[in-house]
């Protein structure tokens, strides 16, 4: 592990520790409104100032980190696993199975998912607890986010299908399951990681958009998504640059993930 990787790993560890200990570290409850000081500048009582309703921005950032950093990777893992499984099998087997999987992917990409999400929201009861609503939102993202990675993974699996080592494994009597798990998947693992890490920021931002449909994280619960949504009022950022902290944290986390884990795979 080079120094940069060590730095990235340390940063990630620090963020995870902060996330886990958020409950004990929160200066004030994330939903509490200090109505006398909305949009306040940083102070000792509120190190990152307050938001438009007077809520402590640091508390909201720490709690939002917990929500997003737990659920977005979970959704990314789910979608990457679906894509990895179907894409690898399709690429390895080829033929009619590959055609069916790719046709299903094309069909899935062509579907207006927005309307499906609206239907899902319409069928859900309104009195779903906020945390359950968040879990449902991320679960749906995980279940619906496999289309883009599957094409990449399928193409890569197709590339290794006629490789010498697979030919050797086949001639040694390896069954398809063993070919897949023992030979194809390990060779595609860096690709899986890349797809996984690409998906995390995507899902964090998708969550922000889903909340517009009433599916994401609802007030007063914070998430990186709805904290980033606060940047709609771009003109205020110049006067109060500390509001950029959630975005900076998001960038740092994504960069750290990409620095640490894929490099480990390369060095193996």
């Amino acid at each position: 592990m080079n120094p940069l990787q060590k730095l990235a790993a340390s940063a990630l560890c620090a963020i995870f520790v902060l996330m886990v200990l958020a409950t004990f570290l929160l200066p004030t409850p994330y939903a509490r409104q200090f109505r006398d000081i909305p949009n306040a500048d940083p102070s000792t009582a509120h190190p990152l100032g307050t938001d438009a309703l007077g809520r402590d921005s640091l508390s909201r950032l720490l709690y939002g980190t917990r929500v997003s950093l737990l659920l977005a990777p979970a959704a990314a893992l789910l979608s990457t696993m679906i894509a990895a499984l179907l894409g690898s099998i399709a690429g390895l087997l080829g033929g009619w199975f590959e055609r069916i999987v790719l046709a299903a992917t094309d069909l899935s990409l062509a579907l207006p998912w927005l309307f499906l999400l609206l239907v899902v929201r319409a069928t859900l009861p309104l009195d779903v607890p906020p945390f359950v609503s968040v879990v449902i939102a991320f679960l749906m993202m995980g279940l619906l986010g496999w289309q883009a990675p599957i094409r990449v993974i399928c193409a890569a699996a197709r590339g290794v299908r006629d490789s010498d080592y697979l030919l050797l494994a086949r001639s040694s009597g390896c069954r398809p399951a063993r070919l897949l798990l023992g030979h194809v998947a390990p060779n595609l693992r860096p690709l899986f990681y890349v797809q996984f890490f690409i998906s995390i920021p995507l899902f964090i931002l998708t969550e922000a958009n889903l909340s517009i449909l009433g599916l994401g994280v609802m007030e007063p619960m914070p998430s990186w998504g709805n904290l980033v949504r606060g940047f709609e009022d771009f003109s205020t950022l110049a006067a109060s640059p500390w509001r950029l902290v959630p975005l900076i944290l998001l960038v740092i986390v994504v960069m750290c993930f990409q620095l640490v884990l894929p490099s480990q795979e390369v060095t193996q």
Partner: protein, 549 residues
């Protein structure tokens, strides 16, 4: 010989030119007013107007018999010099201005008014403006005793009859241009779908200024279609447009920091934000919740527990005022000034709840059966101020042990729930009110009405106070004097304040942005806020720059 004729003609022109110029465009300052419409108008037929963009075109181009002054809220003569309402509001007689012409030169006579009224009341046309005049079964009779007088007789009394004519733009009975021949200050000269509408000065407009100069001063008005409010704001900052008719609080504050002289807060407008509980008996809700929502003390306690002053100050940056009831104080005549000022009193709310059998246990409010008091408020997604209002209400209600959840829904889903399935508990929405007269609220207060949101389309009133609302609304609509109407509608407001079927939260201020280069502007609380007096607006030097636009 020909040379001599040319010489005489040239000599005549030389002597007469100054007189001709002053006759053609006396006092006209020229210039093109530029602003944005947030959607394309759906129609240019003034009788079919039902949305903002078409209404703007109708306002700027249509000539009306009687005009409501947006600032004084008084009725003023338009195409009619005088009018008289008789037979208890069934009949109205107009005396028209003589010698007027439509924009295409067609003369204006009483026949045009008769033609307009017949078209307006034609059931085949389905005119939303005409619906306001329908008072009972039977035909509307229009008589034209002379070319400058018209008598319109309705089958039954129409409350606030003369005020309704502010919406009726007179059409030409004889012009081949039909609705594009107008009597207002401007006419539609060019329309580029998806891009803009160009209105040009109507040289035949009847109105003159105090010095006898023809109005309007402006040469033209260019209306660009722009849905995106950020882009509209950017264009205003760049000086590409001269006004923004309606501003939100955050845009107002942003602009105020840059150009304080350009933003105008005319005070509380007619728009209100309110919350209501679902009281529909067939709603798919637990019985205990239905019971809470139907309890007057519960609704009044919620109303008392909401800090409206904080909502106004924080969510709207001080550009809103706590709402008293269904009528904003901006509506000078119809507002019931004896209504109590809404007070934030969580202790009082708890006392009311205790009277209704609720009790606070360990910071949680429970009903008489021990159920925790918790409900979900829905509102339309993408509306930041409403989401913030609910977040603040959540904290206010937590002070009395109530847990309120927020769910934002896309607008069609929300409408589906509040009008068809009734699968919701509470809803926070706003009302954009453009009409001062309470008759426009009949579809809200009558228990049989579709917009009686807390319990719509009742076959008979579910409660005694709703029956009383029905009676009072019917009475005010058929009353012959304004005083009696006012008295009845004051009682309606009092009942609404006592029963809180709608918990009114705030009245948003009427805010607009007007470039300093515009002269003669005088923003009003009534719509159109920024250009209600478009005929006297003119472009002048920007005092800040000292330059001629």
């Amino acid at each position: 010989m020909i040379r001599r004729v040319w010489f005489v003609l040239a000599l005549n022109l030389a002597f007469c030119w100054p007189a001709l110029v002053s006759a053609q465009a006396p006092g006209q300052s020229g210039g093109e007013l530029h602003f944005c419409l947030r959607a394309e108008p759906k129609t240019f037929n003034p009788l079919l107007v039902e949305e903002d963009a078409s209404e703007t075109i109708r306002y700027l181009t249509g000539g009306v018999l009687i005009r409501l002054n947006r600032q004084t809220q008084a009725l003023e003569p338009g195409l009619a010099v005088s009018w008289k309402v008789s037979e208890e509001g069934r009949k109205i007689s107009f005396r028209l201005r003589s010698g007027l012409h439509f924009s295409d030169g067609t003369p204006f006579t009483s026949e045009d008014v008769a033609y307009t009224m017949k078209a307006l009341m034609d059931p085949q046309l389905h005119s939303p403006t005409g619906d306001s005049f329908r008072s009972g079964d039977g035909q509307v009779v229009v008589q034209t005793p002379s070319s400058d007088s018209v008598v319109v007789t309705f089958p039954a009394p129409v409350a606030g009859l003369e005020r309704l004519f502010d919406q009726v733009a007179v059409l030409s009975a004889h012009s081949p241009k039909k609705e594009t021949a107008v009597l207002g200050p401007f006419y539609v000269a060019d329309y580029s779908p998806g891009s803009y509408i160009l209105l040009r000065r109507n040289a035949n407009y009847w109105k003159k200024d105090k010095e006898g100069k023809s109005l309007p001063y402006l040469d033209s008005v260019r209306l660009d279609f722009q849905r995106n409010r950020d882009i509209e704001l950017l264009r205003f900052r760049r000086g590409e447009i001269h006004l923004i008719n309606t501003l939100d609080a955050d845009y107002f504050d942003r602009l105020q920091k840059e150009t304080p002289a350009a933003v105008h807060d005319a005070g509380p407008g007619l728009d209100s934000e309110f919350l209501w509980f679902n009281q529909v008996s067939s709603a798919p809700l637990p019985e205990n919740k239905k019971t809470w929502f139907r309890t007057t003390e519960f609704r009044k306690a919620i109303s008392m527990a909401i800090n409206r002053a904080d909502l106004s100050r924080i969510v709207f940056g001080g550009h809103a005022h706590p709402a008293f009831g269904p009528v904003s104080p901006a509506n000078h005549f119809w507002f019931n000034s004896s209504l109590p000022i809404p007070q934030y009193d969580s202790a009082g709310a708890l006392r009311l709840l205790a009277q209704a059998g609720f009790r606070l246990q360990g910071g949680t409010l429970r009903d008489s059966s021990g159920n925790r008091v918790e409900f979900t408020v829905i509102t339309n997604s993408g509306n930041k101020s409403r989401e913030q209002m609910v977040a603040m209400i959540q904290q206010d209600l937590s002070q009395i042990g109530i847990k309120a959840n927020l769910v934002t829904l896309d607008f069609p889903s929300l409408i589906e729930r509040i009008t068809r399935t009734y699968d919701y508990e509470a809803c926070l929405l706003g009302l954009v009110n453009t009409d001062l007269d309470p008759n426009s609220q009949m579809n809200v207060w009558l228990s049989s009405a579709e917009n009686h949101q807390w319990n719509p389309k009742q076959s008979k009133p579910a409660t005694a106070w709703e029956a009383e609302l029905d009676r009072l609304m019917q009475a005010q609509s058929s009353a012959t004097t304004e005083k009696k109407r006012k008295s009845d509608f004051d009682k309606v407001q009092q009942i609404v304040a006592d029963q809180q079927p709608f918990i009114y939260l705030v009245n948003k201020d009427a805010m607009s942005a007007i470039s300093p280069v515009i002269r003669g502007s005088s923003p009003s609380v009534l719509d159109p806020h920024a250009f209600w007096n478009a005929d006297v607006l003119r472009l002048g030097p920007d005092p800040a720059l000292g330059a001629q636009k």
